[in-house]
């Protein structure tokens, strides 16, 4: 024991790079370093680099030396009517999908806040879509909607005798995308609302019953205040997420028919990897990032308010 301590002491006193590196005060940072390096190379560097690129005229397909063009691409993106079209499409999909998730999630939460046989098993089943990968959900629904042998088409054919291609019309395609997205994320809203519902003390409902309050008044004055902030969180969180919608749309419709379901996310992808307008796509991506940051700050503000209310 004593001799090994002496050896260790010698190594330390003799110095050398390795001994310096392994000194106790450096071990923590050393252990974190690999993760930091990967994070920097894969996330932070590309982020900064693409931000830089958005001020240059550059295409990933060409070997030209990029020239500095300042805010030209930002200007082009903002004045591009196509971009505004895509924003509009995104807004329609986001608002209908989030609304559907809210309504379905809320009703599911009301259902599951009661006790009934098989509740736990049903709850697990209802939560499953949320756990699936986006790509899997996209493929599921692509098969559901498939006009030749898809379930939806066959079900409709039983009544009309004709096959049915939901994704064939612009409106149908939007509905198809919204259904897939709402199917996947309503359980998330349900979880949040359920958490609010179970936090309502039961005695308040009993007091209200003795106080002769109507069911609507009870909801308005007791239930709703308890779930209000959680609903707000659900709306913001789902808006932020749906705003970035890409996978499901890309697999289901690739943005079609025409550009009916081409969300802003799909459009950025096209700009970057189909048209190779790298700088322009970078500029647009940063504008989207800005929008998401604004939404996120709203979200965090709501989270904090909720935390204060709970205190």
């Amino acid at each position: 024991m004593a001799s090994s301590a002496v050896v260790a002491h010698e190594i330390r006193s003799e110095g050398g790079f390795l001994a310096w590196l392994l000194a106790p005060q450096r071990r923590g940072p050393l252990l974190v370093a690999p993760a930091l390096i990967v994070l920097f190379l894969m996330n932070i560097f590309p982020l900064l680099w693409s931000f830089g690129l958005s001020f240059y005229n550059y295409s990933a397909k060409k070997r030209d030396v990029p020239d500095f063009v300042g805010l030209r691409f930002f200007e082009r993106v903002i004045t591009d009517p196509t971009v505004w079209e895509r924003f509009k499409t995104t807004a329609i999909i986001v608002s209908s999908s989030v609304l559907a998730q809210l309504v379905i999630g809320f009703l599911l939460a009301l259902l599951f806040s009661k006790q009934f046989p098989l509740r736990r098993i049903l709850l697990m089943l209802v939560l499953t879509p949320m756990m699936l990968s986006l790509v899997a959900v996209g493929v599921f629904f692509k098969l559901f909607y498939e006009p030749t042998f898809g379930l939806v088409s066959q079900a409709v054919a039983m009544f009309t005798g004709d096959r049915f291609a939901l994704l064939g019309t612009p409106t149908g395609a939007i509905i198809g995308v919204v259904i897939a997205d709402a199917w996947m994320w309503s359980p998330f809203v349900m979880l949040l609302v359920l958490a609010g519902l179970v936090s309502v003390p039961k005695y308040l409902y009993e007091a209200a019953e003795i106080d002769r309050a109507s069911a609507w008044r009870r909801f308005q004055t007791i239930t709703f205040p308890y779930i209000k902030s959680l609903l707000l969180l659900a709306v913001l969180f789902r808006t932020i997420e749906t705003f970035k919608l890409f996978d499901v749309v890309y697999i289901l419709t690739e943005g079609g028919p025409g550009s009916a379901t081409e969300t802003i996310g799909v459009y950025v992808y096209r700009l970057a990897f189909q048209y190779f307008r790298t700088s322009q796509s970078a500029a647009l991506a940063y504008i989207i990032l800005f929008v998401v940051i604004v939404l996120t700050s709203l979200y965090l503000y709501a989270v904090n308010r909720r935390a204060q209310e709970v205190d």
């Binding site: 003390p201 005695y203 308040l204 009993e206 007091a207 209200a208 019953e209 003795i210 106080d211 002769r212 309050a213 109507s214 008044r217 004055t221 007791i222 205040p225 308890y226």
Partner: protein, 362 residues
């Protein structure tokens, strides 16, 4: 008119029987207390009267009307909960007007009533605040106000003082008595605390395992508990119970106790001799010193003294039997553990119970 009659009420929760043939009557304008330990079924009884629980048997009549069919809203009953159950997202004013919304009263009338209640309970300054910003005592008064604003014929109170500190409990006890006197309303008050029941109730129903076992005025309950259970529930500190046996000597009855013999001739018509009994004496009826006129004296050893301020409790060993006595603080000065003292049992205030059934012999 507002007589409340509870007849043979049964309520089960799964395999647990919460109310097991519960019967009692509350007179109009009476302050009636249900006294019982925490699982005796007090809360279930109040909830059954209010309509929050359906009965499994028996019936509840209020003002001559069977309540089983009456909807909760139509019963003319208000309830104060142990948790206060104030609506946290409504202001005090909102809490007050809540029970009035369905009554279809003109706005002027609602304002008047809220004003009256706020004044009666001295919460006028809090009307625009949320309940969470109020002190415990203020929350309690708002809860009372919300119950009173409807002018109910019957007010149910479910352990309303449990969540208050000792000082506030004392004040609120006085407050309830004042409200009862001023409003003349029928009040049914459930509590596990014998002090609350004895100080406020005009009559007290003592509950045991889902039924009322004795109903009487506080004074009579204290003086003549019908069995050891009631004797133990009523009075603080709790009554001393010492096992003994009845003896017949020269035609006279006496109780043989571990520390001596006590004449029991007063109960002779109920005795045959030889039966084992429980002898009960309240700590306040154990007297210090020798009082030949009051009863026989015994020698005891002091185990422990508990000064409570105005009164000191002594834990005694009377020839092997443990007993407590209560002394005024100034008389307990100079008495310490290990000291032998002489005590007299006040013969007029002792109780005899059957050892097996616990029922009072007289």
């Amino acid at each position: 008119m507002a007589d409340l009659i509870v007849q043979d009420v049964v309520k089960r929760f799964g395999r647990v029987t919460a109310l097991d043939g519960m019967s009692f009557e509350v007179r109009e304008g009476e302050f009636y207390c249900l006294l019982g330990p925490s699982s005796a079924g007090k809360t279930t009884m109040l909830r059954a009267i209010s309509g929050l629980e359906q009965l499994d048997g028996g019936r509840i009549l209020f003002g001559g009307r069977d309540m089983a069919a009456a909807p909760i809203q139509g019963r003319g009953i208000a309830m104060i909960f142990q948790t206060f159950a104030l609506y946290p997202h409504l202001t005090v004013r909102g809490n007050f007007t809540y029970p009035l919304e369905r009554a279809g009263l003109p706005a002027q009338e609602i304002r008047t009533r809220v004003g009256e209640v706020a004044e009666l309970l001295r919460v006028g300054h809090t009307l625009d605040r949320l309940p969470s910003t109020l002190s415990g005592g203020e929350q309690q008064r708002v809860a009372i106000g919300r119950a009173l604003v409807r002018r109910p014929q019957l007010l149910l109170l479910d352990e309303p003082l449990t969540n208050l500190d000792a000082k506030l409990r004392h004040d609120t006890r006085a407050e309830f008595k004042r409200l009862h006197r001023e409003l003349g309303m029928t009040m049914l008050y459930a509590t596990p605390d014998q002090l609350e029941a004895l100080t406020m109730g005009q009559r007290v129903g003592v509950m045991q395992a889902g039924r009322v076992v004795q109903v009487d005025t506080p004074r009579n309950l204290y003086a003549a508990p019908q069995d050891t259970y009631v004797a133990g529930m009523v009075g603080s500190p709790a009554i001393n119970l010492v096992p003994g046996r009845i003896q017949r000597r020269d035609g006279a009855f006496a109780v043989d106790l571990p520390f001596g013999t006590l004449p029991a001739d007063a109960w002779r018509i109920h005795l045959s001799g030889g039966e084992p009994v429980l002898f009960g004496v309240r700590p306040h009826d154990v007297l210090l010193g020798h009082h030949p006129a009051r009863g026989p004296a015994f020698t005891a050893t002091v185990h422990l003294t508990e000064p409570l301020g105005d009164v000191t409790l002594l834990d005694l060993d009377v020839n092997g039997a443990a007993m407590k006595m209560a002394l005024p603080e100034e008389r307990a000065l100079g008495i310490g553990p290990g000291m032998p003292i002489e005590v007299t049992l006040s013969a007029a205030d002792v109780h005899l119970f059957h050892a097996e059934t616990g029922v009072r012999i007289a």
